[in-house]
Amino acid sequence: MPDSKNNNAGLCKEKSFQAFFNTNATLLRNYLYYKYGGNEDIDDIVQDSFIKLWDNCTKVTLETAKSYLFRIAINQSTSLFRHNAVKLKHQKEVKNINHNSTNESPEYILEEKEFMVKLENAISSLPERQREVFLLNRIEKKTYKEIAELSGVSVKAIEKLMHKALLKLRTEIENIP
């Protein structure tokens, strides 16, 4: 077997660290993005967290590295984003990628566009925990169990957050004329 089988090489080697980075970086970045909105500081936090993890690679096993990484990132961001809470409300959460042309009527397309705007606003106005759970499940396709593991809470708690998020989105959308 070639040397790229690195499940016992630990995290310190560049190759294995990069593989770990490649599988986890986008998720961590999106996790923070869903939670805190599009703030440039997010990218710094992601980088710093990976650097810290690498520096501590001897103390962390591959098994625990993911939760360690998320803990560093979450700790770093809570202190930082308290100041940005208001500013974030006005920031666009997610971008619409559905530019595919369809055979639908112009009215339908317009209606759909209006709905998407409402939806994006409603998502932005969700409390951060609900938004994080909702988008991780819908966009990142993470199961409730996987989300629970990321944030260190029970599956039940995630199910409740998910339910609340949907409930809130529905009332927001139905109450806008």
């Binding site: 980075f21 993005y33 980088q47 990976f50 595919n100 966009i139 339910h163």
Partner: protein, 306 residues
């Protein structure tokens, strides 16, 4: 029957298809059901802005090297003890990691990597790609994560699933190729039957031999017909059909460890053709001349001019 009967997590259970038939009928009858369906449909069209992993990793490496302070300790006297201790630790660690953690295979620039999964299924990784799976639990859960491109020859057994950031592919026993690079997602079926779930438009398709599926961001998803019996990259060729040139440049970068630098030229123009995977000069010429670009080579950087 009133809504009261539904519990305080029924929306979560609904998303997971965990509602009983009665609950589902009751929920569907409620005035809000359509809004919920629209919310889910709408959200499934959303995506986070793309994220350039290679760039970020390079900058992590740079920043880290700046911060590293030499921490070598002189331990000449204790080295024998040290070796004994680390042998024990290594054995322990090896057993521990082997037991729980994910196995990762990754291929470098321009290299391909062939390996077998625990059930005998064969994987061939194209250059600069990686696969992660749980070796211990493999026979119960044949699910792996792929970044990049790989060819699979799957042994018969329970469902075999390849997850990528853009979609997932599942089969029972067959041969197929999956390519998932940034916002390009392409699956080709060579044998058996393949189910493709595209996360970007939440669609599901079944592919039979000689059929492919391709979804590139901002373009309509298409079904492709082909007649080769193996992906071209296995024959040292990279072949593209109506693919935006930026993905072709990307493939060249991965194959030959290059970096393209360009400004002001439309990188979404479509390219149909191929380049060899074992001759850098010819590969560059073939691709760049076909789109009328001049280029200068500086080390690993290729500077493009109109």
């Amino acid at each position: 029957m009133k809504m009261k009967k539904l519990d305080d997590i029924f929306l979560s259970r609904w998303l997971n298809n965990e509602l009983s038939e009665d609950e589902l009928t009751q929920f569907k009858a409620s005035e809000h059901y359509d809004t919920y369906v629209n919310i889910i449909k709408g959200t499934d069209k959303l995506q986070a802005p793309s994220y350039n992993l290679n760039e970020v990793f390079l900058s992590i490496k740079e920043n880290r090297n700046k911060n590293i302070i030499s921490t070598k300790k002189s331990s000449k006297n204790k080295w024998q003890l040290g070796i004994a201790a680390s042998v024990i630790l290594l054995i322990g660690l090896f057993a521990y990691i082997n037991f729980f953690s994910a196995t990762v295979y990754s291929s470098d620039f321009g290299k391909q990597l062939a390996f077998e999964l625990p059930d005998g299924s064969k994987v061939l990784l194209n250059s600069k790609s990686s696969i992660e799976f749980n070796e211990r639990n493999w026979n119960n859960n044949r699910t792996l994560k792929l970044q990049g491109e790989a060819f699979f020859d799957v042994e018969k057994g329970n469902t075999f699933t390849v997850k990528t950031s853009q979609g997932e592919v599942s089969v029972l026993g067959t041969e197929f190729n999956v390519k998932a690079i940034i916002d390009l997602f392409k699956v080709s079926c060579y044998e058996g039957k393949v189910k493709v779930e595209d996360y970007t438009d939440a669609s599901v398709r079944n592919l039979t031999p000689s059929l492919g599926y391709q979804n590139i961001k901002n373009q309509d998803a298409i079904t492709l017909n082909f007649n080769n019996t193996r992906p071209e990259w296995m024959n040292q060729q990279s072949v593209f059909k109506s693919t935006p040139i930026k993905y072709v440049l990307r493939a060249l970068e991965k194959q030959y460890k290059l970096q393209f630098e360009y400004q002001g030229f439309d990188d979404s123009i479509l390219f149909t053709g191929s380049f060899p995977n074992n001759n850098k000069e010819i590969a560059l010429q073939t691709v760049l001349k076909s789109v009328n670009l001049k280029y200068t080579i500086q080390g690993n950087s290729i500077i493009l001019e109109d």
